[in-house]
């Protein structure tokens, strides 16, 4: 199909995709060596908005670093804060009260849906369909309003604290979330009939950009990418953190490995997130949302601690090394987009430009998540 076959060693040319290009959704540069419209080599050049987040972690206190974690992947800030807070809680041995854990799950899953909605819109935009973006943002707006109500912020929440939450959720949020879950289900059905079943979309995605399970493993690709390649890897199930073990939900897996499979994984995942939110709302216990004895100045015992969460784009792991001081000795952020992008060069070889962009869109890249 999209493979250059039997071509004479033609002249190739270099096409700079980015750092500012509509399809890279941020400042990612891809150096394409092109043979006509076929890509002979695609070399991603990240780092344009590298902020050295990991060094920042070493020269501010544990609590001061908290807001940074919302700014790595600004689309699923909740999960990132969860990863960092979880790592520090693990290091300091802080027990989080159950109500806080449930609220964390609810907000994380809401955030996952909003992130997938942005991806859905932006991906269709990559494919030249502009309209779904605005429908997706319509739904996302409701989530942002809900989260704004409890966190005071629409994107960079920093809602979790070591040992719990910044504040308790109110009835507005709980009622609004119930309402949202009820509204969102038919919307997902609408997306299925309007977009997923569109013949042009299917033709553009099916069989395009096939990533094998082996490639996922070798490159450490996670999230919808690995699940679109037929491996049911989800941190929420494999290494259950927080209270995810209490909920019933499925991991959508599609074995094809093409862009359509990754698309379908994310679309199904939104439904599963709604399921989790529903259960969490039903089971939400009463009680405090903050652990009792969290010291004002944290000094976790020396050692290294790791905590992984399933962010919207895949496995986000925080490795903290503490030397029993008020600042971290080392914070390593293992971000999913970084690993997911690293296989782009191998997979995109021999593809045509629009197919490669469909592949890139289906990886769901957030550039600060790569560059940190």
């Amino acid at each position: 199909m999209a493979v250059a076959q039997g071509k004479a060693p033609n002249e190739t040319f270099v096409l700079n995709l980015g750092p500012q290009h509509p399809a890279t959704h941020g400042v990612l540069r891809v150096k394409l060596t092109m043979d006509g419209e076929y890509i002979t080599r695609a070399e991603p050049v990240p780092g344009y908005i590298h902020r050295m987040q990991e060094k920042m972690g070493e020269n501010r206190t544990w609590a001061q670093y908290l807001p940074n974690t919302s700014r790595i992947d600004y689309l699923s800030a909740m999960a990132y804060t969860h990863g960092y807070v979880g790592a520090v809680e693990r290091a300091a041995g802080i027990q989080v009260p159950p109500r806080a854990e449930y609220v964390r799950v609810i907000t994380s899953e809401l955030n996952r849906i909003s992130s997938h909605l942005v991806w859905f819109g932006a991906f269709l935009l990559d494919l030249g369909g502009f309209t779904p973006l605005l429908y997706a943002f319509d739904d996302r707006e409701k989530i942002l309003d809900l989260l704004e109500g409890i966190t005071g912020s629409r994107l960079t929440y920093s809602y979790y604290r070591f040992g719990g939450l910044y504040n308790d959720v109110d009835e507005d949020f709980l009622g609004g979330t119930r309402e949202f879950v009820a509204q969102m289900r038919p919307r997902l059905g609408m997306y299925r009939t309007l977009v997923t079943e569109n013949i042009i979309l299917r033709k553009r995605l099916e069989g395009i950009g096939v990533i094998t399970p082996e490639q996922c493993r070798k490159y450490g690709a996670t999230g919808p990418v690995i699940r679109g390649s037929g491996i049911a890897y989800d941190v929420r199930k494999v290494e259950p953190y927080s209270v995810y073990a209490d909920f019933e939900f499925d991991i959508p897996v599609f074995p094809e490995g093409d862009s359509m499979a990754r698309y379908l994984v994310r679309m199904e995942e939104m439904g599963q997130s709604l399921r989790i939110i529903e259960q969490a709302l039903a089971k939400l216990p009463d009680g405090p949302v903050m652990a009792e004895k969290v010291p004002r100045v944290l000094k976790p015992p020396a050692g290294d601690y790791c905590y992984a969460v399933e962010a919207a784009r895949g496995r986000f792991a925080v490795l903290v090394v503490s030397d029993n001081k008020e600042m971290a000795y080392r914070i390593k952020l293992r971000t999913p987009s970084f690993s997911n992008l690293s296989l782009f060069e191998e997979v995109s070889q021999g593809m045509m430009l629009p197919d490669a962009l469909a592949l890139m869109g289906s990886l769901d890249l957030v550039i600060p998540d790569i560059d940190r």
Partner: protein, 185 residues
């Protein structure tokens, strides 16, 4: 997934932990000989002298640490460890470093996760700080290419045999390594 932690520990136990005994590698699952003894193996120190914990494979408490199995190994064995974990079906999570300036050492950490079993393995190796180099595992895990480039950016750790150690996240003319502890902010 039939793999248990104990089996895994036993497999990893086949790695060579005292450097000058390449014969011991044969006790474990077969490893390709040119990888298990990298060309610069004479530069590898006996890290057990200064490391806080001796080399070896140990089970650690997942609930408090976040990993199941911790492997401390000399730098010469990271490739063998990677190959072994590759055969067991592990996926590469991340490669990173820690600058232990007080001990004059750098630590290279290789994190692995298993896509179908809940195991997490951390392979750690200590190398001298003034001469930080380890063999690359990018031949085993191509995904390590970027992680090693990043680690080289941040710590100046040289990954021997790496195809392209040009800065990835830092500017292409960067000659500094910001995560070194003596790098002034």
């Amino acid at each position: 997934m039939s793999l248990t932690l104990q089996q895994l520990q036993a497999h990893l136990g086949g790695l060579v932990f005292a450097p000058p005994e390449p014969a011991a590698a044969a006790a474990g699952p077969p490893t390709s000989p040119e990888r298990s003894s990298p060309p610069e193996s004479e530069a590898v120190p006996s890290s057990a002298a200064t490391a806080p914990e001796p080399d070896g494979v140990r089970l650690v408490d997942y609930a408090s640490r976040g990993v199941h199995l911790e492997v401390r190994t000399p730098a010469s064995q990271v490739v063998a460890a990677a190959e072994l974990l590759d055969r067991e079906g592990f996926a590469l999570d991340a490669v990173t470093g820690v600058d232990w300036i007080a001990q004059g050492e750098m630590e290279v950490i290789y994190d692995y996760f298993h896509p179908t079993a809940p195991w997490r393995v951390a392979v750690r190796s200590r190398i001298p700080r003034d001469h930080p180099q380890v063999p690359t595992i990018s031949a085993v895990f191509p995904g390590a290419n970027w992680h090693e480039r990043e680690t080289h950016d941040f710590f100046g750790i040289r990954f021997l045999g790496h195809p392209d150690l040009t800065p990835l996240l830092l500017p292409e003319d960067a000659d500094f390594h910001p995560l070194k502890k003596d790098f002034a902010v």
